[in-house]
């Protein structure tokens, strides 16, 4: 099989990998140890493989690794600071939005991209941002609540919960 070089940044660290020209980004990331990038449907339906490429959420199961040349990739492993979790991760924990956790990495990254552009989204906007993510455990209500909670950090938790109608 033929090989090629791939240079990119993953979670702020420059990487130089050897890949096959037909490699899928999901496979390469997992091969390199980023197991937070989950292999679910591999057809773009479930969102478990979501990573941010130059700030945009994409399904890594649908992207050739070679397309990521020069890109900045953020996986769930890169979100927390060494000592502190990201506010979104905190909110997912506080709200019980994580059960098995298989969908959580993808959802949190999609939410991260949403909040970067819309720091105070409506519930409808949060639902739209998470619409490409399937959860087989908690469902969607708690993740939606968690994203809304993370986006309105300064307000008391109880008042926010009451705003979530469904």
């Amino acid at each position: 099989m033929k090989h090629m070089e791939l240079r990119l940044t993953v979670n702020g660290v420059a990487k130089h990998w050897t890949i096959a020209p037909g490699d899928i980004l999901l496979d390469v990331l997992r091969r390199e140890g980023y197991f937070g990038v989950k292999r679910g449907c591999e057809t773009g339906e479930c969102g478990a493989c979501t990573v941010l490429v130059n700030g945009k959420p994409i399904n890594s199961c649908l992207m050739f690794a070679a397309q990521a040349e020069g890109a900045e990739i953020l996986t769930i492993e890169g979100l927390a600071k060494p000592e502190t979790l990201d506010p979104l991760q905190e909110a997912f924990l506080d709200r019980g939005a994580v059960q098995c956790g298989f969908c959580s990495g993808g959802m949190i990254l999609a939410a991260k991209a949403l909040l970067a552009h819309h720091p105070h989204p409506s519930e409808a906007e949060v639902r739209e941002a998470l619409s490409g993510h399937l959860c087989r455990c908690t469902g969607y209500r708690k993740p939606v609540e968690a994203v809304l909670a993370a986006s309105t950090k300064k307000r008391p938790a109880r008042a926010k919960a009451a705003e979530v109608s469904r």
Binding site: P21, G22, I24, P57, F64, L114, G132
Partner: protein
Amino acid sequence: MFEGVEAFYRPTTVREALHLLRKAKGTARIVAGGTGVVPGGDRSVRFLIDITRAGLSYIRKRGGAWTIGATTTMAEIEDSAEMRMLAGGLLASAAAACGSVEIRSMATVGGNMANGSPAADLAPPLLALDAEAAIAGTAARRKMPLADYLAAVCAGKMKNALLVEIVFLEPSAARGGWCFQKFGRTAVDISLVNVAAGLQLDARGRVKWARIALGAVAPLPLRMPAAEALMTGRILDRALLAEAAESVSDTVHPIGDIRASADYRREISRVLTGRALEQCAARAGYSL
């Protein structure tokens, strides 16, 4: 899945992309967003040509004509202030209806056309806007009506052609309205039926012209010339909308598959066409 791929190219110009395409003699596949190519899993592909760095991501207006580069993503169309205005946001709303946020930040307008899917969500709006496709092939660059391009893709005749851009004229906004409607099982599913419609009325409420295009109801996304013709010149009222919607459901020849039966798609075609035309009338400022 793509173990047979020998090289992955990232040309930075259209010229270079065409050169690579020619050199591969039919064994290369163009990659834009990859959302069609990757799940397709075609094992015969030997070369992949990523065209997203070839300078084809743009939305421009020159004179009265709009040009959208082939690698412009659904997200870029959805977020473009100009596309949100153009034809009442017809294209922006269709782009926003494509899959999930993740899919939309990858999927391109060129891939949507070149994929050859009868359900492609940008096809009905672009057909309704009388769009043309600019193609670069082994011969010189040429323009053809988008409908002809889609038919050629469907017939397997566009394998070695690069779709460069989509071009259409800015439609007149006076007493006009446009609407895109999509019906799928879930918010992120492909369309069971999709409809784009546009109307322009005269001062007395007579239809100057109507444009109606549907997807997923035939092997190709199609304009509905019979329904458009029967509306032209007549006063717009509910009976006329019903007549046009009926004509559409008589014209379509949908398939039945895992998502829906043919009869169901035909009925949805009637209902969605009616809804789309009603919205067009409302957006044209006309009360039925």
